[in-house]
Symmetry: C2
Subunit: 209 residues, 2 copies
């Protein structure tokens, strides 16, 4: 499980504040996740997520002390940008990034839970669609939704996807799923905490792209 | 006609050799063309074309004398790369770039020629589809073709597109079309010459993405 398991997310501290540096380091291992889907069709998604990470990193690097936690980034940007906020800066980048993270989380959780299309047990369309419906669909206009439906056909079958996640290592499916469950513990907690922060700060937007 | 007309392509010399530097300069004004389509859905296309240009420019910049013309790039890369060629280097980047240029050329030519869907005279889907069918479709697998069909709905109407091409200037439609025709003269000759070069050099590939 080279891809996910060697880079477990850090556990959250009691106050749920997420250290920007650690978060950026963990999350930088995720874009290759989209390569595991096995088609160049997903390159624009990887690029979009990479763009989010680069943007947050640039803000962090401009003053690592000031922007030590994700919470501080939102607070400071809110005071800097006034009425432009939250559709601006690292706040906007993290708003979208968390949706991509939620997508990954729900997809992995659904696989770990053994959810399957009984008629097509080796396909993962049902798991991808669940993740898309819950994490992204409501932020996409009908054209992007149509593009998603078309791109879905490029998704790999279940066995190929699990194999790609483990890279070259030979891992039995059950071991792979166990490792996914282990990865999900801190990952889910982190994504939940970011969502909660956006909700508390009233920083969530629901415009369509 | 800020976008296109202020940057006419250079006329071809008698031997049809295209100066790399001039070509890169002219072609660098084209990616904003995809912004004229008015939707962020087209951002991945713009990124792909920008990537091609960056790759060719990097090869040129590594030795501007050696790579003075596009013909020299293909000849030299053929000798450097052996059996890997032509699916490599600036040869591959230009192979795909020329298809994007052909797409733009056919689309503009079709508008200039007044081709219309009589039932929807203010839509340009018919013109975009013609350009896609002739320039790109055969290199796209069925999934990317499906994505294209979905993305087509994001195309602007004819008047909005022509207006975007002229940027802020107020230009009557007939003037705009006249300028497109003027732009197309050297542009079409350049694209034709590149296609001819790929054919003569046996450098064209027809694998699908
Ligand atoms: C030849 C024919 C070609 C036709 C043209 C092709 C058209 C292709 C259209 C592809 C869409 C690609 C996905 C990207 C969508 C993006 O538009 C959205 C919003 O993106 C955000 O927008 C903000 C401004 O509003 C800022 O710029 C953010 O940037 S900022 O950092 O600058 O602030 C940016 O992330 N991101 C998203 O929706 C996030 C997507 C996450 C992906 C989740 C996985 C889905 C997996 C699906 C598997 C089946
Ligand atoms: C949330 C849901 C999200 C779902 C996911 C979204 C999926 C989106 C899929 C979008 C496809 C975007 C278009 C890009 C397609 C590209 O795959 C191809 C080949 O691209 C080439 O590939 C080579 C290797 O084979 C090299 O890497 C080249 O790179 S190299 O420089 O490194 O050598 C590269 O250009 N280019 C193309 O087909 C060229 C496209 C030109 C565009 C022409 C205009 C079409 C206009 C259409 C208007 C309606």
């Amino acid at each position: 499980m080279a891809l996910l398991l060697d880079q477990l997310f850090a556990p959250l501290p009691d106050n749920n504040e997420i250290a920007t540096k650690t978060f950026l380091e963990s999350v930088s291992h995720l874009p290759p996740f989209f390569d595991c889907l096995g088609s160049k069709v997903f390159a624009p998604i990887k690029a979009d997520i990479n763009g989010n990470i680069t943007k947050i990193k640039a803000v962090y690097d401009s003053d690592p002390v000031k922007y030590e936690t994700l919470q501080q980034i939102l607070l400071i940007e809110k005071s800097i940008y006034g009425s432009e906020w939250p559709k601006v800066g690292a706040t906007l980048a993290l708003m979208w990034l968390k949706r991509g993270l939620r997508f990954i989380q729900i997809l992995l959780q659904s696989l770990a839970d053994g959810e399957r299309d009984e008629d097509n047990p080796n396909l993962i369309r049902i798991n991808i669609t669940k993740a898309y419906d819950q994490a992204l669909k409501r932020y996409h206009g009908w054209i992007v939704q149509k593009v998603f439906k078309a791109a879905l056909f490029a998704a790999p079958c279940r066995s190929a996807f699990l194999k790609a996640l483990t890279k070259d290592q030979e891992v039995a499916e059950e071991d792979c799923l166990a490792k996914i469950r282990q990865f999900l513990i801190n990952f889910t907690a982190t994504v939940d905490a970011i969502y909660e922060m956006y909700s508390i700060m009233n920083a969530e937007l629901d415009y369509l792209v």
